[in-house]
Structure formats: C-alpha cells, structure tokens
Amino acid sequence: MEMERSERGAGDGWKSVLRRVLLAAMTVLAGGLISATLVRYAPGFGSDERQLDARLSSASLAAIRDANASERRILPYYAGYIARALHGDLGISRSLNRPIQQILAERLSITSLLAVKALLVAWLAALSLVFAAGVLRLPALSLSSSIGSGVLLCIPAGALALLSVLLNAPGYLALAVVLFPKLNRYLSNLTAATVSMPHVLAARAKGLSETQILVWHVIPVIKGEVLALAGVSVGLAISAAIPVEALCGIPGIGQLAWQSALARDLPLLINLSMLVIAGVTLANSGADLLSADRGQAA
C-alpha cells in the first residue's frame, strides 16, 4: 500500500516536472515572439543607418532593404528562425557581423559570474541582517536596516551603477546593492510574520533561546517562500544586470542587450530575449519545484 502510494507520488512528480518544462518552453517561445512583434511594430522599425552611407552602391542598398523586408513579415521570419535554431544556427548579428552563438558564448559566462557573485553578496547580507535582528532582537538594527533598504529601493539601478564607478567599487557590488533591499524587505516581513505565529510565541513562553526558535521554528516555516524568492531574485538580477553592465562597462549579456537595442539588431534581440526569458523561467520553475517538493515532504 505504502509502496503503491510512493510510486504514484513519483509518477505525479514526473508529470509535474514535465508540465513545468513544457510550460517553460512555451513561455520562452511566446516571449521571443512578443519581443519580435514589439520590435516589428515599434515606430522607426526598418530604418537602417547603413542606408545613409553614401559609399554604398545601389545594389548594396537594395540588399539592405531586402534583408529588412524579410523581417517585416514577423510570423514567417520567427518560424524560420525557430527552424534554424533547432539545427543549432542562431543567425548572424547584423550590428557585430558575427555568429550570434559565438557572441552569446563569450558574454554569458561574464554575466553568469556577475549575477552569481551579486546574488551571493545580497543574500548573505540580507539573511545575516534579518537573522541578526531576529536573534538579537535589536529594534535599532531592524529600524536602520529598514530605513537603509527603503532608501536603496528609491535609487534606480543605473544610478547605483554610476555611484559604484564613482567609488571604484566592482560591478557585482552595484548589482548586489540593487538586489539587497528587495531581499531584505521581503525576508524581514516574512520573518516578522512568522515570529508572531502562535507556535513561536509558545516556544518563547517555554523558555527556548532566540537561536533555537530561529533554527527550529522560524526557518522551517519560511523555507518554501525563501526558495521561491531565490528563483525570483535570479530574474531580478538578470533584469538589473542591463543598466549595471551598460554603465559599468562590463561586456556581458546586459551590455549586449543595450547595444543591440541601440543598433536595432533584430536577430540578436530575439536571441537575447529568449535567453533572458529562459533564464528567468528556469529559475522560477526550479524554485517552484523545490518548494513544492519540500511542501510534499513536510
């Protein structure tokens, strides 16, 4: 009976994973199409600066116009792109005149490293502050961290990136400062809500130390939500990486997104949007699965 139930549970688990993978794939495909459509119908689409080059012959100008004309019919263009991508051909960047696969491979590692470092610093800072405030029960610490994160929330990521350049601080620190207030605020609210739950009050009344309460009664309760927040924070990091990389001069995916948007490079923009959406969706789905697993185990 027990074995049958666990087999059924494993089957349901696989089904859930498969459903999420399918949903993630559909999200990525639809997201790529949305980006392409937005680009296609944005005012100014099709105006290519190369057409102003007086040195180009009429044949070259006609070739540029033909290349743009194929991008005008967005559905056939997108379908063609997907078919080529399935065979490993991501196309050629119009602005950089290089294979997109090569460009992404070079830049992806830089952004991944930047995001990982920033997420580590932001999570460490937020968790230590929240738990220190919880264990030490210092109202001054909670108040100062709340005011600090409130002020940081009011500064745009780009301004924080510029300030980091001004202070000669590394780029990942700027990204960490963008992420920290959001994590800190959510974790503080979550911990405050959990600390006032009846079982925590009962534990405190029984004379357990604050560290014991935190480890035995608070962390197990908030674990699922913290995992979900971990997934969301990856998305936040990817989004904030665009201004940080562009303004700090870090040659990653964020800077590439900015440059390709300025250069109106549609093939590169579609690839970038799909890559970014895939990253965000995978992080969210992974976090959802982990928190669901923990929920089932509990």
Partner: protein, 267 residues
C-alpha cells in the same frame, strides 16, 4: 505611522506645487544656456549652479520633477486601465477567459520589463521631438507595466465573482452593467487605487533607468531620470554636491510616494 504618512503626503504635494509653479515662471527656463558660466558653482543667479552646457540646474530640476510627476501618474492610469480590462474582466467572467488571461499575465511577468522597454524605446526614430519622446516613454511604461496589477485585480475579481452579495444581486435579476458599476467597481476601487500609487514610483524609477541608458526623455527636455546623467560627468569633473540634487529629489519623491500609499490595501 499616520503622522509619517501625512508628512510624506505633505512633502510630495509641496514638491509637486513647487515644480509646477516654478516651471511657470519665465526666469526658470530649462533650455537657456549661460555660456559664460559652464559648470559654475552655487551663486545668486544660479542657486544650484549650472550644468555642462551652462543651463541653470534649479530650472531643469523644477521642470524635470514636473515632467516625471505629471507623466508617471498618466502612465499608471493607462496601466490600471489595461489591468482592469484584462485582469479584472477575466476574473469576473471566469472559465476559459480567466485561465487564458492568467497565462498571458504570467508570460508578461516572466519577461524582464526593462528589457522590453529597452527594445521598444530604442526603435523610436532618431528625429523624435523631446516632448514626444517623453510622452512615448511614459506611454510605453503604462502599456507594458499592467501585468502585476492585473494579476492582483484578477484574483480580487475572481473572489468577488463568488461573493454572496454578487450572487444575490444576480439572482435578483440585476443587469450586468449595473452589477459592474454598483457592486464590482466600488469593491475593486481600493485595490485599484493602491496599485495606481504603487505604480507611480515604479514608473519614475523605470524612466530614470531608461534615461541613464540614453533611451528616456530626449534632450533638452529634462526629467528626473535624464538629470541623473549628470552623475556621469561627476566622474570626470569632480563630485560637485549640486550634481546630486536630482538624485536627492528623486529619493525624496519616490520614498514619499511609497510611504504615502497604504500598503495593506495593495494586495
């Protein structure tokens, strides 16, 4: 807490009034250049000094605050309208409409917002006028920022659909229009208003990020975001405190707006 909220509201009203009244005065011309005083410090003629082109910083700050404070609520209103049409309507209808709109909302929420803004804003023709660039930037913010409020409105509308008073009204034979105008909208209003006030600072910050990347409101028209680009020249020209004035005002405006919103009604 009530006192702090009141203080924040008073502060935002004072800043808004100062920016509107100040920008109406002819002395505060944001585009006039004083070629004799480029990057000048604080003086009787220029209370916050001048920028790299000899333009009065205070005038630009007043006009920039006005642009951000007028256009961000307009963008938030557009966003709320879309959220109401897509989120609340599908929540009320239920069934396939609710499920499909939920999928669309989830899809928009999984696409980094700034990335989409960057793509669309960069596609504007290079000869777009400054005023049009400001309007289009905030229009885009409104048109792309509807997903998060839509999800909250959809959840609230879906709950309302099963509420006893709505069922009772339906059983009494009330028309659909009357049901929406007399029973649904008044119940959605607090959430809608809270989401509106939450969106305003979010849009001001998003515009600031776009402007810092050179894709926001075009020169010479100032906005709080475009004024932050002065921080870039602070790197090479030394950190004159007045270069940080726009950042200070931005922090004041955004924090006041965040404090003034009753957070418990937001979700």
């Amino acid at each position: 807490m009530k006192a702090i909220r009141l203080a924040a509201t008073v502060l935002i009203v004072v800043i808004a009034m100062a920016s509107v009244l100040g920008s109406l005065l002819p002395v505060f011309d944001y585009a006039r250049q004083d070629r004799e005083r480029i990057n000048a410090g604080v003086s009787a003629a220029h209370w916050l000094g001048t920028d790299d082109l000899g333009r009065d910083r205070l005038s630009r700050l007043l006009h920039g605050t006005q642009v951000s404070l007028l256009l961000a609520p307009a963008a938030a209103a557009l966003s709320m309208l879309l959220a109401l049409v897509i989120g609340a309507a599908s929540g009320l209808i239920g069934g396939f409409a609710e499920r499909s709109s939920k999928l669309i909302i989830d899809l928009f929420l999984s696409i980094p917002w700034l990335f989409l803004l960057l793509i669309v804003r960069a596609m504007l023709p290079l000869n777009t006028s400054p005023a049009l660039s400001a309007v289009v930037t905030f229009l885009m913010l409104g048109a792309l920022g509807w997903a998060a409020p839509a999800r909250i409105l959809q959840a609230r509308a879906s709950r309302l659909r099963h509420a006893p008073f709505i069922l009772l009204a339906r059983a009494a034979g009330i028309s659909r229009c009357r049901l929406v105008s007399h029973h649904v909208l008044p119940n959605l209003r607090p959430v809608l208003l809270a989401q509106f006030w939450i969106s305003v600072p979010v849009f001001i910050l998003a515009e600031a990020n776009l402007s810092l990347l050179g894709l926001g409101v075009a020169e010479p028209l100032p906005s709080l975001g475009s004024l932050l680009r002065e921080l870039e020249s602070a790197l090479s020209l030394g950190s004159d405190v007045c270069r940080f004035a726009a950042l200070m005002v931005l922090i004041l405006v955004v924090s006041s707006l965040q404090i003034a919103v009753p957070q418990q009604e937001a979700c």
